[in-house]
Symmetry: C2
Subunit: 413 residues, 2 copies
Amino acid sequence: MMETPKGLRLHIALFGRRNVGKSSLLNALTGQQVSIVSDTPGTTTDPVEKTLEMAPLGPVVFLDTAGLDDAGELGELRTERSLRVMQRADVALLVTEGESWGEHEARIAALLREREIPFAVVQNKADAYPAAPGRAHGPGVLEASVSVIRASARDGLGLAEVRAALERLAPERALHQPPLLSDLLPDKGVLALVVPIDTGAPKGRLILPQVQAIRDSLDGRKLCMVVTEEELPDALGRLRHAPDLVVCDSQVVHKVDRDTPSDIPMTTFSVLMARFKGDLTALAQGAGALTRLTPGDAVLIQEACSHHPQKDDIARVKLPRLLQKLAGGELRIAWSAGKEFPEYDGAYKAVVHCGGCVITRGQMLARLRAAAASGCPMTNYGMAISLAQGVLRRELSPFPDALRAFEAACAHP
Amino acid sequence: MMETPKGLRLHIALFGRRNVGKSSLLNALTGQQVSIVSDTPGTTTDPVEKTLEMAPLGPVVFLDTAGLDDAGELGELRTERSLRVMQRADVALLVTEGESWGEHEARIAALLREREIPFAVVQNKADAYPAAPGRAHGPGVLEASVSVIRASARDGLGLAEVRAALERLAPERALHQPPLLSDLLPDKGVLALVVPIDTGAPKGRLILPQVQAIRDSLDGRKLCMVVTEEELPDALGRLRHAPDLVVCDSQVVHKVDRDTPSDIPMTTFSVLMARFKGDLTALAQGAGALTRLTPGDAVLIQEACSHHPQKDDIARVKLPRLLQKLAGGELRIAWSAGKEFPEYDGAYKAVVHCGGCVITRGQMLARLRAAAASGCPMTNYGMAISLAQGVLRRELSPFPDALRAFEAACAHP
């Protein structure tokens, strides 16, 4: 009923020409051991997403690009679509029919290499193309390090090898995500989690970062006291000793900062998500760049999910107001939303990104890399809000590297 | 991203012949003020479900029976399908074309009355059927108390009246759900919530009753300490005073009972859900009936969601073992699953139902009524487990009426 969030799943892209058997390979890979949890129907530009559990990788999303290589399409459009899928992939399979290898395969392989996405070549339909004995032969153009696996969706040949290759290739960051917060607490430490309820979550629910924080505290065998900002003083009073960490929503950081004695470490969900989902040091540096905004500067506000009415107030109203206050005048603000990202325009003096709870760590890091390559400093919503409220230094204190990067960026000429 | 669970939404069924404009009425009712959150495609036997927010009712589910009245269908099948939808409805709209009223309408109205489902008649397409001035005329067969509203999806006539009628008709139990637990605690009281993590929730998630408990604690301005069963003693040690209530998952009730000093009130999610979703006293009485099972008795194990592999272990393995231990020998066990329920066979000596987190309070109460009418005592999974572990009396202690009902049922000849 409640699935693992997509943002915590390994994303595996399937590439290959039509009729090489991508879909039947996927069914063979997964049908043996899993029930498919859900399909998100693809549009002409989106891949079909299949979320499922797949031993030994755990929860995964397959980005099935079947249909992206329609023969009628121009090569350029095809490439653009493949690139969009690659923006979201942690690892890829390039499926060929037997040992066939042409321009399409060479192009996809080159793009994957360029994007540093680890991949294996799967020579499907091996039953129809009996090979010479010995190791499968890869196309000469590929490095020897790229696994080439002879497989057959029909008779099950090579499927175990494909799964093993996925496990071997999956990047550490995708398989072993760092804890959200439990590493910040001592053994059986006490965490106070401050969750405002006046805005945000629908009736009977908590929002995802809050659920993830409570779950991470349980996984790490910590003691987690959950209260609203109004009850935080009472919670502190009911504990024998001060909590080891206070974590709050950015929307109440001002009050929580005031109510939390200064010797108690305090941070926000936004800072934790920045560390969990991306590169806290780079995002802290990006927050520093906000202190140098001047009237007329261009700023991009970017959201990973395309439909989130609650957040709209933050993105459309609250953030622009705060940023313009920081800049001391009108800014030229642009917005973008969705799982795929635009080319970052070097003209942006800053990109302010949402927490990214719906995208993976790999996807967030790809956005950070792309922004950095275009010379755009990137930070996130919550850190921008905290900066404007003068509490970001305190929030970053549990993370000395990030604090130093922030201070250096503020001092930057 | 995270919607209000369906089990907490008002369920509104739409009845009416084909071509009376049910779908356009629904769009007109909702399109003006909401974005449709999601559609669950119907099959030939399921209604289409539309979940959305609708002022002033809040989160609702429309059960759109469009397609259930195919002309080619036998009257009996049509009735059966309508009845299935009624099992899930809190309130209904019977849509007609202008003032037309025939056998179909009379039959639906009679079934709604029989099931005590409040409803209004909506005379749609009023733009095409100008009426005499004054109040809309209902068919003579209806009680005067049934609202008859002239409406037009096309020009918006009567839509405000339909919304007002829904608000007026919606049963108290659906609009103002009792709190899950916050009424059991004093002002700013401390709750210890014991959540095992070895089974159950997928990576990064908590299961729904746990999320609902934390949210209810926040809504009620309580202080909620969330720990696993291993850390409960540490949590008790870190608090200045004992918590006001300990709530645990039934799977760890044995250990939690042992680790919680006897002067601290303790209960389980199952008992809380029994109270929240149904009638705790009736379910406690049903638990008492389990003490009277003897070998060869028939028992029904019933689950509200049809796909829940984790629960299967409980329903298929753990519960049968416990029940047979209670009975002192083999039982004849039947299973059922899904949102619609079978006629309860009077031969069942007991029905053991899941917690019902995916169905509404109205749906759970309808199941309890139907079971009682067939003479089948009903209880729930967690209470059955607690009974077998000898801790049900303690769990029921915060609820004196339920405890009395349980003890009376145990003493029953």
